[in-house]
Symmetry: C2
Subunit: 151 residues, 2 copies
DNA sequence: GCAAGACTAAGACTCAGTCTCATTACGCCC
DNA sequence: GGGCGTAATGAGACTGAGTCTTAGTCTTGC
C-alpha cells in the first residue's frame, strides 16, 4: 500500500456522495489523513496529527467520520488489545491484511496469508452461517525483542 | 466443556498456590464462578452474578483476580467488539475455541477448527517470529436471524 | 499466637468514546 | 448570485469500563 493512497481517498468520497452524504471539512481531513497511513491509527493519533497539521478537528467529528466510513465498509476498526481502538482504510476489492503485535515492545506488524483466509472461508459452510467479516490478531515476540529468525 | 469444571478450578488454585499466591475469598469466588460458565462472561456479569449469589465482591478485586489469572494463562481475555471485555477459563492442555458473533442479535457461538489452527501455526515460521497466542473473531448472521443453512 | 505482607472493599479517579445543542456551511432551487 | 432546508461541525458535558489509592482484614509461616 503506498504511503498516500489517492485511489482509496477518491473511492471513499465517491461512495459517500453516492450514499447522499454532503461534503464537510472535518470528514475530508480524516479521509485525507487515513489515506496517508501505512497501518492502523487511533482516533487520538488522528486528532493529534490533524492538530499538528494546523487543522484541528473536534473529537466528535473524528469519531463521527470514522463511524460513517465504517458503516460503508470504507474503514476497518481494530481492537488490538490496547485501551483505544485503531482504524485503517479498507480497500474496495476486499484485499486486506491482519496483524501481529509484539508482547515486548508493542510493535504492530502486518501480514497476509492466503491459507488462513481459505481456512476462514471454509468455516462459513461448516458452521452453516453467513460470515461477513473476521478479525485475526497474533501475539508474539518480534525479532528486535529476541524472537527466533536469522539474527 | 461441562457447566461446572472442577478440574479447571482445581488446576487454577494449584497454579496460583505454586506461584506463591495466598488464598483469598474474593478470588476464590471469581474462580468458582468462572468454572461454572459455558462461555465468555464480562467483569460486570461476574460482579452481578456474585452479588446475586449473596457474595458481593468489590469491583477492583474482580479485575485483580482476572488479571492474576490471565497472567498465569488461566483465563483468556476476549475483545468481542463490545464496550466491555469478556473472560473465559483457559484449559491447561491448550485446547481452546474461537467465536462468531451475530451482527443482528449479538449471540456468541463457539467453534473450533483444526485447519484454522494449522494455518496459524504455520504462520509463525513464515513470519520468523515466535507466536504465543492468537485471537480469531468472526462476524456474521446466525440461523435464527436469517443466515443460510437448513431451515 | 504473632507478625509480615498478601488480599480485599469502597470509592475516587482516568480517559476513550458518546451525546447535546448551538452554530456553520453544503448543495439544491429559484 | 441569494435563500433555504438540513447535514456537518465543534465545544464541552457526560458515561462507564477499568484503574488506583488507601485503610483495614485475612493467610500463612514461624
Ligand atoms: Mn483475513
Ligand atoms: Mn486458535
Ligand atoms: Zn518487539
Ligand atoms: Zn443472531
Amino acid at each position: 500500500m503506498p504511503i498516500h493512497d489517492p485511489s482509496w481517498s477518491a473511492y471513499a468520497h465517491a461512495v459517500l456522495e453516492d450514499a447522499g452524504h454532503r461534503r464537510g471539512g472535518a470528514r475530508d481531513e480524516v479521509i485525507d489523513l487515513l489515506a496517508a497511513q501505512p497501518c492502523a491509527v487511533s482516533a487520538h493519533d488522528i486528532e493529534g496529527a490533524l492538530r499538528q497539521r494546523g487543522r484541528p478537528i473536534g473529537r466528535a467529528s473524528i469519531y463521527r467520520a470514522l463511524d460513517t466510513l465504517a458503516e460503508h465498509g470504507l474503514v476497518k476498526r481494530l481492537d488490538l488489545g490496547r485501551s483505544e481502538a485503531c482504524y485503517e482504510p479498507a480497500r474496495s476489492d476486499g484485499h486486506h491484511h491482519h496483524h501481529v503485535v509484539c508482547e515486548m515492545c508493542g510493535t504492530l506488524t502486518a501480514f497476509d496469508d492466503p491459507d488462513l483466509e481459505d481456512a476462514i472461508d471454509r468455516l462459513g459452510d461448516r458452521l452453516g452461517m453467513r460470515i461477513d467479516d473476521h478479525d485475526v490478531l497474533l501475539r508474539g515476540v518480534c525479532r528486535n525483542c529476541g524472537g527466533p529468525g536469522p539474527r
